[in-house]
């Protein structure tokens, strides 16, 4: 047995906590690699006994970065549980809040989490590979714009939801209060500014990233590539939709493999447990679990921005559609398997969210005071689904006749990508680490295999944390032969 191993603990610039273990063979090449998630909180259990109507206030605590998405999936599960549709205004107000959230959350990832790798450079000095470095590089004026847009989007979410970190405003059948005309007037400039700002960010991306041959080679290269199935929610014309629609799965060649309503999720998806991590791995039931491998015969699939674009046939707004076509032309057609292209797809989705925000602020029904239908049905079971920034999110509740939760099941966005993330890390490690040679820059490039997915380990396992990043190379006697630190 060869026990040379490299430990990366923690992985950084993501929501949550994970570590990577890389085992080397006799030649010092990568034999295997594992992404371990060391946390769990157990929401599925402690939901039991809670009143169903409290779930939209409890489940956002799964994740404080994307609480709006849990709030929304939860309330949609309550709509289904009580068989009550929201009023036209209720639906418009919810979707308005949701569009503002998707816009600000995608921008958070680009500037704070994943983006610094490109804006600063994959192997740039770690001390500057962060938001502060990014501010230095793009300038205070651009940073000021980002801060302003996030502040205004989050103020809008707060107006509707009461709080932006853990909204409370959605109830089965609608929302808790109307959206007044003066607020419509107040936020119209935000939407305009949002469209303009995302177009500017796309230009930065084109200049800094796509204009850089080294980066482009990375994006198009094999190290960051996996041919998998893709899943995402689509509208009646197969265009990307975050709030509502059917779930479409395409195979690695881009052919439609399945299209189903959220409440039928159990026919299509299953979870696997591994003893070495707290997170469960989702896979396509009808294809089956074949291990951590890609290709048509493996049930591994991917979700979130690039997967959504792959699983759809276009965007529902004009500017985003234009960029969508540009992206696939540059990547050599659909579906795109290049993991790093997730960053591009995320910005296209941000543009769609900004345009959708603009549309909704024009909707006449938005300010109708009739914001809620009171439920009358006896509750039994309800399933709610939305597209979270990080992928498809399912909330499934069963209750007694009083609406007290008896069983809850949550399939959380990042879980869909867990298997693919493990594979991406293993492949990047194998492609980058040869003959036992490792460097700090290479290690960051291993981490760059998971960052495109914008993983949320808080969601996946419902906890967060961090410990030091140290890499130790051990010989077969478990003696440290080399220790590296990223400073």
């Amino acid at each position: 047995m060869n026990s040379q191993r490299i430990t990366i603990n923690p992985i950084t610039r993501l929501e949550g906590h994970g570590k990577i273990e890389i085992f080397l063979d006799d030649k010092g090449d990568v034999a295997t690699a594992a992404l371990q998630i060391p946390e769990l909180r157990g929401f599925e259990k402690f939901a039991e006994g809670r009143p169903a109507e409290e779930m939209p206030r409890i489940t956002p605590r799964i994740c404080g970065v994307c609480p709006t998405t849990h709030h929304m999936a939860s309330v949609k599960a309550l709509d289904a549980l009580y068989q009550v549709a929201p009023t036209a205004a209720g639906k418009a107000i919810r979707e308005l809040m949701y569009s503002a959230f998707m816009l600000e959350d995608h921008l958070l990832h680009f500037f704070f989490l994943g983006g610094p790798d490109f804006i600063m450079g994959p192997q740039s000095a770690p001390a500057g590979r962060n938001i502060l470095g990014v501010i230095g590089k793009v300038g205070l004026e651009a940073a000021g714009k980002l801060i302003r847009l996030r502040r205004e989007c989050r103020a809008l979410i707060e107006f509707i939801g009461g709080k932006v970190i853990h909204p409370v405003g959605c109830l089965p059948g609608g929302v808790s209060k109307p959206f007044p005309e003066e607020e419509r007037r107040r936020y119209k400039p935000t939407a305009e500014f949002g469209v303009e700002f995302v177009r500017f960010v796309l230009k930065v991306f084109h200049d800094l990233v796509l204009g850089n041959k080294e980066y482009l080679d990375l994006i198009l290269g094999d190290i960051y590539k996996h041919k998998t199935y893709y899943m995402g929610m689509v509208d009646e014309r197969n265009r990307v939709n975050f709030y509502d629609g059917l779930i479409r799965v395409v195979d690695p060649d881009g052919k439609e493999f399945a299209k189903f309503a959220g409440q039928d999720y159990l026919q299509h998806l299953a979870e696997r447990v591994e003893p070495w991590t707290y997170v469960k791995f989702l896979y396509l039931k009808k294809v089956g679990w074949k291990g951590f491998v890609d290709g048509k015969s493996s049930g591994v699939y991917r979700v979130a921005p690039l997967a959504r674009l792959n699983a759809a046939e276009g965007m529902a707004t004009p500017l985003a559609q234009e960029e969508y076509q540009k992206m696939y032309a540059a990547l050599g057609g659909k579906p795109a398997h290049n993991t790093l292209a997730y960053h591009w797809a995320r910005l296209i989705e941000a543009l769609y969210a900004a345009e959708r925000l603009r549309e909704l602020l024009e909707a006449p029904e938005l300010t109708d005071p009739d914001v809620r239908n009171i439920p009358t049905a006896v509750p039994k079971e309800g399933i709610g689904v939305v597209e979270a920034p990080r992928g498809t999110l399912f909330h499934h509740y069963q209750t007694d006749s009083r609406g007290i939760i008896t069983k809850a099941n949550l399939l959380v966005a990042t879980q869909n990508n867990q298997a693919a993330m493990s594979m991406s890390i293993a492949k990047a490690a194998a492609g980058l680490i040869k003959g036992g040679k490792v460097s700090e820059g290479l290690l960051n490039m291993v981490e760059m295999a998971f960052r495109p997915y914008d993983p949320c380990m808080a969601c996946s396992t419902h906890a967060l944390g961090e410990t030091p990043l140290v890499v130790r190379v051990l010989d077969s006697g478990r003696r440290v032969v080399r220790e590296l630190r990223r400073h």
Partner: protein, 322 residues
């Protein structure tokens, strides 16, 4: 004069408290100017190794959020305690246990069984659970242990101050930072928020009748909620009487009742007991049978009274979970 060193760290939390820092928006730049952030996992690539290398007591203040659920979290906060002059429990989970503290109605065994074996989507015929150690042909894979009981931060390490809220609001965070930087701190152990109850600052305070009476308990989804009137007076349970003010009444402004995330005031040891007594004092009943009927109409008493504070309560956890 070197800038004071500040650390932000997360335990069993959701990331909302990290967002509460990012949500300082323009003011974050002022904070970055005034202090030297030596550790902030979500955004910066600083390491605990760097923290370990620092002299003890060299960090001016560590803001720690999240409850203590896993062995690794306990180890990390003990390290930060050694290195920091001040530790602030940042947010409901560190302060009281928070929503993850509801897991104290169960235990490790029942949580594992549900999550890994029972849910309808799981395919786990071998009944595998995550293990603290897994042997693989190449070597051992380790995981931190999952504790039976969720603890608050001050049940784990010594805490100097508390920033309440889920998540704490911007004005309280900035006020806390300012107080620390100017050394104008209240006595150790203080909660850095107003001392009054939420009812005292509630915008609906003036709508309250001479005496609020509870005749019939309703649930928020069952009724159209009056946007002006006291929730309790509408028969809706609101944790206002048992909860500290300082949140900005945000849930109330969204026309939803309080659930108690700010925890109790200084006079109260057990938030749930306080809320129960507040509700009982409003009961308008003439005999025991009526009282019983009204009591029975409160669904999920424990999860309502202790929504955010079960680990910090006198009971701490449910005993003898089946």
């Amino acid at each position: 004069m070197p800038k004071p060193k500040v650390a932000f760290y997360w335990c069993s939390s959701c990331g909302g408290c990290e967002e509460s820092i990012v949500d300082l928006h323009e003011d974050i730049l002022k904070v970055v100017e005034a202090v030297d952030i030596v550790f902030w996992p979500v955004a910066l690539d600083f390491k605990l190794k760097d923290v370990e290398a620092m002299p003890d007591g060299s960090i001016a203040v560590s803001f720690i959020n999240g409850a203590i659920r896993m062995s690794e979290q306990e180890e990390a906060v003990k390290l930060l305690r050694r290195k920091s002059q001040l530790v602030v429990a940042h947010g409901s989970c560190a302060h009281l246990g928070g929503i993850p503290g509801l897991a104290n109605l169960w235990d490790r065994k029942s949580i594992f069984a549900r999550v890994y074996r029972e849910v309808p989507s799981v395919d786990n015929p071998a009944g595998i659970f995550p293990q603290d150690q897994t042997l693989t042909p190449q070597g051992t894979l380790d995981l931190p242990s999952f504790y039976d009981t969720v603890k608050t931060l001050d049940q784990t390490i010594d805490v100097d101050y508390y920033l309440p809220g889920c998540a704490p609001p911007k004005d309280l965070i900035l006020a806390a930072l300012k107080a620390i930087l100017t050394c104008e701190l209240p006595p150790k152990g203080s909660v850095l928020a107003p001392k009054t109850t939420l009812c005292d600052t509630c915008p609906r305070k003036d709508s309250k009748p001479e005496k609020t009476v509870l005749k019939d308990i309703k649930r928020p989804h069952q009724v159209m909620i009056d946007p002006e009137k006291c929730f309790l007076d509408q028969g809706l349970i609101c944790a206002g009487p048992a909860t500290r003010s300082g949140c900005g009444e945000k849930c109330i402004k969204a026309n939803m009742p309080c659930r108690g995330c700010f925890g109790p005031t200084d006079e109260v040891q057990d938030q749930g007991a306080k809320l129960l007594s507040a509700l009982a004092s409003l009961y308008d009943v003439s005999d025991e049978a009526e009282a019983q009927k009204l009591a029975d109409s409160i669904v999920d008493l424990s999860g309502t009274l202790y929504r955010f504070s079960l680990p910090a309560s006198i009971l701490r956890r449910k005993q003898g979970v089946a």
